[in-house]
C-alpha cells in the first residue's frame, strides 16, 4: 500500500518516453491534416528561398576580379565589390592611412559596452570606465594631440559615426528624458506644462525636420562668421528627439508604480529626489526595459536620416560606394545585403540583451 502510493507519486517524475516528447513538440505542426499541409508548404517555401539565396550567394557568385568580371554575370552576387569598398563603407571619408584610428575607437567602444553589459561589473566604477573610453575615442577620432593629425568632423563617417550618433544621442537623451518624464508627472503646473509642450512639439514633428531645422535654419540666425560644427548640430537634434521619446516611455513605467510606493517612500521621511532614486525609478525603469530597447534600436537605425544634412552614416557610405562610376549599376543588392547584415547583427544583439535583462529580473536577482 505504502509502496504503491510512493510509486504513484514518483510516476510523473519518470522521464517521458522520447516519442511522447516528439509528439508533443511536433503536435502544433503536424497534429491535424490542415496543420500538416501548412507546415509542408512553409517548409517548401523556406527550402526554395534558401536554395535561391545559396545559388545567388555561392554557386553563381563572382568572387574574383573587378567591375568588368561582374558585368553581365548570370544572376549571382558580386562579392569583389564588397572587398574593394569595405573600408570605405565602414569608415567613410576618414583619411585612408589613418583608418586604424576609427577601428581602434570602435574596439574601445565595443569593449566598454561588453564590460558594461555583464552584471558582475555593475558598480560606480563603470562611470570612470566610460569617461576614460569616451576620452580615448575622442582623441582617436579627432586627433590633434599625441602626434595624431587632426581629422575634421566633416571627414567622419560610416559605422563609427552611426554608433556615435546613436550612443551619444541615447546616453545624453536618457537622463534628459528621465527629467522630462518626472517633470510631466510633477505637481508644479509651470514645469508640467513646459515639459508637455516640449515633448509634444518634438514628438509632433519628424526627426528629419528637426535635423533640417538644426542644419539649415540655425546658421541663418547666427551672427555672420559664427558657425557651429554640423555634426554637433545634428547630434544635439538627435539628443533632443531621443529625450522626448524616452520621456514618454519612462512615464509609462512611472504610471505603473502603485501610489502606495510613493506614499510609503514619503512615510519613511524620504524627500522627492530620494524617493524617486531609491524607490520609484528602480521599479519603473525595470518595467520599461522592453519599450526602451525598442526605442534604442529604432534610434540606431534612424541615424541614417543624417544624410539629409550631408553627414554620411553607415548606410549612406554604402549608398555612396554604389555610386562609384566604375561599379554603378553593377553591384546594388550586395551593398544593401551587407548593410542589412550589419544592422541586423547589432539590433539583434540589443534585443537579445534586453531579453536577458528581463529574464534576470523575473528571476529576482535585483
Amino acid at each position: 500500500m505504502t509502496t504503491t502510493a510512493l510509486q504513484a507519486a514518483q510516476a510523473p517524475l519518470r522521464r517521458p518516453r522520447p516519442s511522447a516528447t516528439w509528439r508533443r513538440r511536433l503536435g502544433p505542426f503536424i497534429g491535424t491534416p490542415v496543420n500538416a499541409v501548412i507546415t509542408a508548404v512553409c517548409l517548401a517555401l523556406l527550402l526554395w528561398a534558401l536554395s535561391a539565396a545559396y545559388r545567388w550567394g555561392v554557386t553563381n557568385a563572382i568572387t574574383e576580379g573587378g567591375p568588368q568580371a561582374c558585368k553581365g554575370r548570370a544572376g549571382g552576387a558580386c562579392w569583389p565589390f564588397l572587398a574593394t569598398k569595405l573600408r570605405f563603407m565602414v569608415f567613410g571619408y576618414f583619411p585612408y592611412d589613418q583608418h586604424w584610428r576609427p577601428l581602434a575607437a570602435l574596439l574601445v567602444f565595443f569593449s566598454a559596452c561588453g564590460v558594461t553589459m555583464m552584471p558582475r561589473f555593475w558598480s560606480r566604477r563603470l562611470v570612470g570606465l566610460w569617461a576614460g573610453a569616451v576620452a580615448v575615442i575622442g582623441v582617436l577620432l579627432y586627433g590633434g594631440v599625441l602626434g595624431l593629425p587632426r581629422v575634421e568632423t566633416t571627414k567622419w563617417g560610416g559605422l563609427p559615426l552611426s554608433f556615435m550618433l546613436a550612443f551619444v544621442g541615447l546616453s545624453l537623451g536618457f537622463p534628459l528624458g528621465l527629467l522630462l518624464a518626472l517633470a510631466r508627472m510633477s505637481k508644479m503646473p509651470a514645469i508640467r506644462v513646459l515639459s508637455i509642450v516640449f515633448i509634444e512639439v518634438i514628438r509632433g514633428v519628424p526627426l528629419i525636420s528637426i535635423l533640417f531645422m538644426a542644419t539649415v535654419m540655425l546658421p541663418l540666425f547666427m551672427p555672420e562668421g559664427v558657425t557651429i560644427d554640423k555634426l554637433l548640430r545634428a547630434q544635439v537634434a538627435i539628443i533632443i528627439f531621443a529625450a522626448a521619446y524616452i520621456a514618454e516611455t519612462v512615464r509609462g513605467g512611472l504610471q505603473a508604480i502603485p501610489r502606495g510606493q510613493f506614499e510609503a517612500a514619503g512615510a519613511l521621511g524620504l524627500h522627492y529626489w530620494q524617493s524617486m532614486r531609491l524607490i520609484v525609478l528602480p521599479q519603473a525603469l525595470k518595467i520599461v526595459i522592453p519599450p526602451l530597447v525598442n526605442t534604442f534600436i529604432g534610434f540606431f537605425q534612424d541615424t541614417t536620416l543624417v544624410i539629409i544634412v550631408g553627414l554620411l552614416d553607415f548606410l549612406d557610405t554604402v549608398r555612396s560606394a554604389l555610386r562609384d562610376p566604375d561599379w554603378q549599376g553593377i553591384a546594388v543588392i550586395e551593398g544593401y545585403v551587407f548593410a542589412a547584415a550589419v544592422y541586423f547583427v547589432f539590433s539583434y544583439g540589443m534585443g537579445a540583451y534586453s531579453r536577458f535583462l528581463e529574464r534576470r529580473r523575473r528571476m529576482g536577482y535585483d
Binding site: P67, G72, R87, Y96, L220, M222, K230, L312, P325
Partner: protein
Amino acid sequence: MSRSLTRWLATGLVLGLAAFTAAPASAQSTLDAVKKRGKLLCGVSPSSAGFAFADDKGVRRGFDVDICRAVSAAVFGDPGKVDFIPLNTNVRFQALQSGEVDILSRQTTVTFTRDTTLGLDFGPTVVYDGQGLMVHKKLGVTSAAELKGAAICLLPGTTTLQNLADYFRPKNIQYEAVVFESTDEWRNAFFSGRCDVITSDRSDVASVRAVANNPNDFVILPETISKEPLAPVVRQGDANWRDIVSWTVNALIAAEEKGINSDNVEQQTKSQDPEVQRMLGVTGDFGKALGLDNKWALNAIKGVGNYAEMWERNLGEKTALGMTRGPNKLWTEGGLLYTPPFR
C-alpha cells in the same frame, strides 16, 4: 510660479535676441576668411557619378570636386587645401548663404530665379548639360517626335517632369510618365522594358547606358529637351571672390585652348605668347589684381590639369560614364567653351 517663470523666459528671450542682433556683422571678405582658415570649404554632392564620388580609398573624385581643387590651388598653391562638405539639393543654397561653404560646386543649373532671388552669383558655366532621352534600339525610334504614347521613366524632381511637359505639350504628343524614387529602380525599370524611354540630364543618361550589359541595345536620341548649364555658385556681394572663382575656371578652359596642360605648364612659362605669359604670371600682375599670387593660374593648371584633362579623368570616354564632349568642346572646335581673353 508660472507667471514669474514666464516673465523670466520672456526676459531671457529678449536678451538673447538682442545679443544676436547686436553682434557686429563682420565685413571680412571671403578670400580673407579662406586664407585665415587655411582651407577652402567646398559644397559638393554627397555622391554623384562623375561629378563627386569616393574612390576605393575614400578620396573624393569628380568634375565638381576638381573645380574646388583648382580654386584651392589658385589661392594656396596647393590643390589639397579643401574641405568638402556634402550637401543635398534641398540644403545647398542655404549652406552657401549662411557661410558654411565658400563655393557650391554641385551640378547646379543656372536659372533666372536662382540668380535673382537667392542672393547668389553664378560663375562661368563649366558643363553644358541638358535633359536627354534614351530608347531601346529595337523600337526603331530615331527622334523624340516619334514618341507618341511612350512610357517614360524618370526620377522625381519638378524640372525633369516639367521639361517633358514643356517640350511635348506644344507638339501635342501624349506620353505616360513613370516616376521612380531610387536611381537603381529607375534604371532597372528601363532595362527590363517597363518603360520605352528613360530621361534625365544627358550626363546621367550616358551613365545609364554605360552600365547596361549591352550598351548597343540602347540609343540616345539627338534632341536635348532642356538647357542645363551647370556652374559653380558663390555668395552675392563679394565681387573679388566671384572674380577668383570665375577666372580660375576661365584659366582652365583657356589652358586647353592654348595647349597648356598639367605636364607642360612649367615649360609654357617660356612661351612667347603674350597672353600665356600674362596668364601664367610671367609678365604683368594678374594674380595681384585678384589678391592672389601671380602664379595662381599656373598652380591651378598644375593641380588639376586643363579642362580637357578634367573631362577625360572624370566624365570622358575612358571612364565608365563614357561621355563625349558634345557642346562642351572649345569654341574653336565648334563647342560652347569660349573664355574672355586674358589681357
